[in-house]
Structure formats: structure tokens, C-alpha cells
């Protein structure tokens, strides 16, 4: 069973969000990295990019597949994790820590309430594994 921290919120497309005021730290769930397998490349957005909830945020290549990471909230990308460019495997090793992807400064923080709780996401993860 994959790790689903209580304090985070989740999108149906398997991104997680950690909220700190208007800042949303974003990554992909442990379940998502397990399904993808060995991550070998990430294509993160540039700082300053504006995204709406549900837009393509980034792309990810694993050994077996390529996938899209969607913006779980709307706003401006204010930080990207350059460490995952050099060592993409940290997304597998530590998806909720060192493997974070971007920080979005939220334009409508209320969107977070529409994201799933850990308990709700656990049902989604169970359903497709």
C-alpha cells in the first residue's frame, strides 16, 4: 500500500499539494511514482509561468512510459526543483520530500478545498492499482 500523508491534499490526476499561505508546494503521489516506475526525466515549467487548475504543468518520463503532470491549483510558478532535473530518481525515492516539483503562488487559494483529502485519495489509489 502506498504512502498517503494525512496533511496533504490530492488531485484525481495524482498530484499532491502542501499549502503554506498562498504558496502551494506540488509533487506527485507515492502511488503515482509506483505506477510510473523508474523516473528518468522531468520537464518542469519555467519560473513565472501562469497556470490554471487542470493545465499541463510538467511532463515526466519513466523507463516504461511518459505522462503529463497537471496543475492541481491555479497561479504562478514561483519555484521549481532543479534537483529533479539532475537526479530524477529522487521522485521515486522521496516523492513527498526531496522529490517535490514546483511551488505555485495561488491566484485562488479556495481551489484547495476542492482537492481530495488523504482518505478520499486512498480510495482513488486503491481503485486503479
Amino acid at each position: 500500500m502506498s504512502n498517503i500523508p494525512e496533511e496533504l491534499r490530492y488531485a484525481e490526476t495524482h498530484e499532491w499539494v502542501k499549502v503554506d499561505g498562498k504558496r502551494a508546494l506540488v509533487g506527485i503521489s507515492d502511488h503515482a511514482q509506483e505506477e510510473l516506475g523508474d523516473v528518468v526525466a522531468l520537464y518542469l515549467p519555467d519560473v513565472g509561468k501562469q497556470v490554471s487548475k487542470g493545465d499541463k504543468l510538467a511532463e515526466i518520463d519513466s523507463m516504461k512510459t511518459s505522462d503529463v503532470i497537471y496543475a492541481p491549483v491555479s497561479g504562478t510558478v514561483v519555484e521549481v526543483n532543479s534537483a529533479v532535473d539532475e537526479t530524477p530518481e529522487i521522485v521515486n525515492e522521496d516523492p513527498y520530500g526531496k522529490g517535490w516539483l514546483v511551488v505555485i503562488e495561488m491566484s485562488s487559494p479556495g481551489e484547495v478545498d476542492d482537492l481530495m483529502t488523504a482518505a478520499q485519495y486512498a480510495e482513488v489509489a486503491k481503485g486503479d492499482s
Binding site: 505506477e35 516506475g37 523508474d38 528518468v40 526525466a41 520537464y43 511532463e59 523507463m63 492499482s129
Partner: protein, 399 residues
């Protein structure tokens, strides 16, 4: 992916072992097979550095018996079975009249019969194809011999070619990696050092005969073991339980089987080979022996060889990050020249690599420019790649 279990999928005799090891399962060639246990990269590197164990029981086995079996196999396949003797394996192709490939396979000369090891996805069509060709072969070549009175030397059965699908009788394990000889030798209690590449021999395991062949699909030294299905879980477990220098054999799934064969540039049916791709295009012309006499596809292949194939297989290595995938288009000087037949990530090179089928003129233009740069077109981006020689990673098979 772990819930692909479907009533319509066949299962390997090692299915319970895979479940016990927590494998992620996938559909392949009509079978439910493990795609990975711990991770593709880890399994891949275990084979390159130590030893990995694959279940290849999905592969099909077809035996060909009868007095005229050698003539029939030479008529059916493109390679020349006269070039091998009992105890030897040969890579060969089964083509249709126009030279398109029905399947690529291994022929094992068992002495009293030939055993063809074929791709899982083609096993049923292969069997039907071979049976139908055997009919034609009998009518065409097996002219009844005049039987001298009182002679018992040639019965009607002698002139028969018999084709049997024996896939359900056998499990196939592949033990691959630099320590494979030590591991298998210890488990069987025999020395395997005399066995050469593409040679096989029978050994005893649990009181029954098993066939050990020094072959594989990874580019490492290693063995493929053909054994009765009922014995396979015992051998599987004993191989995984053997500790050598503090290390164990790593169970490996189809994911690493694919990434390992891609690093070698080995063909995979449905990708590098198909009914629409002939052997010269695919770069496996070495398995076609035009000088051996009449065989199915021979006249067409002879013409293709004389005029030169219109497409050619090339090997590409990315010069930037990214992972090429089968179906991506390849362009050179802004012109579309073909497509990626297999693409992936090389854990050894830490680069994206691909095999591509491209226009033959473009291929020779590329060949003349040395470090020719092409691009691989994906939906979101264009990946820079250069043409390289195969294999991508040096082979370490024991020649």
C-alpha cells in the same frame, strides 16, 4: 496494473511465484506476465552486474518430427539448418512468399526432432502456418518411394513430417548475467564451462531431464532452461535462494527484458520485424541463406537483396534528455525519413536510445556523415539524436 487478471489471459506455470514475489503483472502475447518486481532499472543492472532470472514460459514451442524434417525445416525457414548439428541452436526467420516475416525464432536440433522456440504472440498463428506449409511440403516433395518387395526400410510414416504444438509441456527460464554459470552450475551440481554460445545439453534436475542452452536475449553470458512445467517452480526457487558472494539472483520482469535487449539492438517481433518488414530492412539478413535451395520467401528475398532494401534499420542515441518511444517519427535535415521501432532508456548509458526504420537513401546519407544528427519527433518536443553503431552497450556473451 496489478489487477490485470483476466479470465482470457493464459498464465505461466510460475504464476504463483510471481504473485508471491509481489510482481506487477501485465498482458503480453496473451499471457499475464510480470513486468517488474522491484523496478526495471534495478533488475536491468542486476543482469549486467551479477545475475537475473526471467520467466520466459510465455514463449511457444513447436516440435517437428519425421524422416523429412530437415528438408521441411529448410523449406519453412530462411536460415540453413544444415549448418547446425544436434545440440546446437540457430536463430532463424519464418517468412511469407513476399519476404515479410511471419515470426523470428530459435531452432534447436534435438537429434531426433527440431524444436522451434517462437514468440508468444505468434505461437498460435505459427502453428497453423507450419501445419499448412507441412501439407504443401508433403504434396510437393515427398514423392512416394518405390518400396522394394520384402523391404522394411521405408514405411509411409517415415515420409511424414509431423508438427506438434508442445508449448503447454514446457516452462522456459532465462538465467542471465556474468555470474549465471556459477549460479546454475551450483544448483544443478554440474560444470557448464564447456557449453559454448548457442549450444545446449541435457542435465538432470529432480530426476528428470532438462535442457540447458547457452543463449539469451540480454547480451550477457547466460542460459535458457527448457524444462517440464511441473518442475519449473522448484528450479525457480532454488535459483533465487542460492547465495553467491553475499548476493542473490534478482527476479526480472519483461520490463528489463525489453530494456536489456534494446541495449543490444536485438529485434523484437511486432517492432523491428513484422509481415510488413523484410529481413534485409530489419538488419537480420545474416539469418537468410539464399544459397541453400528452395524455401518459402526465397525468390522474393533474393530480389530484395539484389536491388537493396528500400528501408534500413538504424540505431539512435539521444544527445539530450528524453525517452524515444515506438512510433515516434524520425527526421533528418527537416525531412521525415522514418519511425522509431523500439525506444527506451538505457540504464547503462543513462541516455534515451532507439532503433528506427528509415528510408534507405537517408540511411546511407546518414552513414556518410559520421556523427549524423537527426531528430526524434514527439508530440511535445523534438529530441536530438545521433546515429550510432549497434550494440549500444558492448555484448559480453561467451563466444
Amino acid at each position: 496494473m496489478s489487477s490485470v487478471a483476466s479470465a482470457s489471459l493464459k498464465r505461466s506455470p510460475l504464476h504463483e511465484e510471481h504473485v508471491r514475489l509481489g510482481a506487477k503483472m501485465t498482458e503480453f502475447g496473451g499471457f499475464e506476465m510480470p513486468v517488474q518486481y522491484q523496478g526495471i532499472r534495478e533488475e536491468h543492472l542486476a543482469v549486467r552486474n551479477h545475475c537475473g532470472l526471467f520467466d520466459a514460459s510465455h514463449m511457444g514451442e513447436i516440435e517437428i518430427l519425421g524422416h523429412d524434417r530437415k528438408a521441411f525445416v529448410n523449406y519453412l525457414l530462411t536460415n540453413d539448418v544444415d549448418r547446425i548439428e544436434p545440440g546446437r541452436t540457430q536463430y532463424s526467420l519464418m517468412c511469407q512468399d513476399d519476404g515479410g516475416v511471419v515470426d523470428d525464432l530459435f531452432v534447436m536440433d534435438m537429434g531426433d526432432r527440431y524444436l522451434l522456440v517462437v514468440n508468444a504472440s505468434n505461437a498460435e498463428t505459427d502453428f497453423a502456418w507450419i501445419r499448412a506449409r507441412a501439407e504443401g511440403f508433403r504434396l510437393r516433395y515427398s514423392t512416394p518411394r518405390v518400396q522394394p518387395v520384402g523391404s522394411e526400410s521405408a514405411t509411409p510414416e517415415d515420409r511424414e513430417v509431423t508438427v506438434n504444438d508442445v508449448s503447454d509441456q514446457f516452462a522456459l527460464l532465462a538465467l542471465q548475467g556474468p555470474r549465471a554459470e556459477d549460479v546454475l552450475g551450483s544448483v544443478l551440481g554440474v560444470s557448464l564451462s564447456h557449453l559454448k554460445y548457442f549450444q545446449f545439453e541435457q542435465f538432470e534436475f529432480c530426476g528428470e531431464h532438462i535442457v540447458v542452452s547457452r543463449t539469451g536475449y540480454t547480451g550477457e553470458d547466460g542460459f535458457e532452461i527448457l524444462l517440464p512445467t511441473a518442475l519449473s517452480p522448484d528450479l525457480w526457487r532454488q535459483l533465487l535462494e542460492l547465495e553467491l558472494d553475499g548476493k542473490f539472483v534478482t527476479p526480472c520482469g519483461l520490463g528489463s527484458r525489453d530494456s536489456l535487449r534494446l541495449e543490444m539492438g536485438y529485434s523484437l517481433y511486432g517492432h523491428e520485424l513484422s509481415l510488413e518488414i523484410n529481413p534485409y530492412e530489419a538488419g537480420v539478413g545474416f539469418a537468410v541463406r539464399l544459397d541453400k535451395g528452395e524455401f518459402i520467401g526465397g525468390p522474393a528475398l533474393s530480389k530484395i537483396k539484389a536491388s537493396g532494401p528500400s528501408r534500413r534499420a538504424i540505431a539512435l542515441q539521444l544527445t539530450e534528455r528524453g525517452v524515444p518511444r515506438a512510433g515516434d517519427r524520425v527526421s533528418f535535415n527537416g525531412k521525415d525519413i522514418g519511425y522509431v521501432t523500439s525506444g527506451g532508456y538505457s540504464p547503462v548509458l543513462e541516455r534515451g536510445i532507439a532503433m528506427a526504420l528509415v528510408d534507405a537513401q537517408a540511411a546511407s546519407a546518414l552513414g556518410q556523415t559520421g556523427q549524423a544528427a537527426v531528430s526524434i519527433e514527439q508530440r511535445q518536443r523534438s529530441l536530438a539524436a545521433q546515429v550510432v553503431k549497434l550494440p549500444f552497450v558492448p555484448s559480453r556473451v561467451k563466444r
